[in-house]
């Protein structure tokens, strides 16, 4: 419809043609400088804090055999992989190195898990075949 009705009830006489009706018109050359329409560039304010693995912030030592034994299989004594322990890159490497060191220096048994640490809380999500 070319003509627009002004908000007057029932008075259809006053029809202003669209060409004369004042609309907010934003022309390129008339744009006020400094008033930007685009979204403001900013860092995502709803960003979640980065996920931490269980050992993030804990110092890994070759001496605390209990901690190291939690990442070792009770049957064979082999070290669990990253997909089982769920540790980040850095910490997995540290744990592996510490376990190997403990083996060599005679702190931790190699072929099995120390029986006194068998009742420790389970960290790794190991799936045994049923």
């Amino acid at each position: 419809m070319a003509a627009r009705a002004v908000a007057v009830r029932g008075l259809w006489r006053r029809l202003v043609p669209a060409a004369l009706w004042e609309r907010p018109c934003r022309l390129q050359h008339e744009r006020q400088p400094g008033r930007c329409d685009q979204p403001i560039q900013m860092e995502n304010p709803y960003k979640e804090p980065p996920k931490k693995c269980i050992l993030c912030g804990i110092n890994v030592d070759y001496k605390n055999v209990q901690l190291l034994s939690q990442f070792v299989s009770p049957h064979t004594g082999c070290i669990y992989g990253r997909h089982i322990t769920g540790l980040c890159n850095k910490k997995q490497k540290e744990i592996t190195k510490a376990i190997k060191r403990a083996h060599v220096l005679g702190f931790m048994p190699v072929m099995f898990k120390n029986p006194s640490f068998l009742t420790d809380p389970k960290i790794c999500n190991v799936k045994y075949p049923e």
């Binding site: 980065p50 912030g57 110092n59 890994v60 910490k91 005679g106 931790m108 048994p109 072929m111």
Partner: protein, 106 residues
């Protein structure tokens, strides 16, 4: 017990002779070894663990390893770098962008 004291004394004196500064000597307790270790024609089942904190020139390492190897009472010897206190502020798991890695870099 006096034997262990004698061993420690000998070791520390040997270290000081070569110019190492002993900062600390810790006893990590005496326990049964995780596996039987045969050394110097004997099978050992129990042992005492000691940790010596020292500072010295790196040339000592090989000479000390020889010296300790000749000592009958020492079952296992090792020199480890002093663990510098690791940064406790771990930044957490940084999500790796796998797509970028798969796309071959030109």
């Amino acid at each position: 017990k006096p034997e262990t004291a004698a061993v420690l004394k000998r070791t520390v004196e040997a270290l000081m002779e070569r110019g190492a500064i002993v900062r600390n000597l810790e006893n990590l307790g005496e326990r049964s070894l995780p596996y039987k270790i045969s050394k110097h024609k004997e099978r050992h089942r129990r042992g005492g663990y000691f940790l010596i904190d020292l500072e010295g020139p790196p040339s000592i390492v090989s000479t000390m390893m020889d010296h300790l190897g000749r000592d009958i009472d020492v079952i296992r010897r090792a020199f480890i770098k002093h663990p510098v206190s690791q940064t406790e502020e771990c930044s957490g798991i940084i999500p790796v962008n796998c797509e970028d890695k798969l796309i071959a870099k030109k």
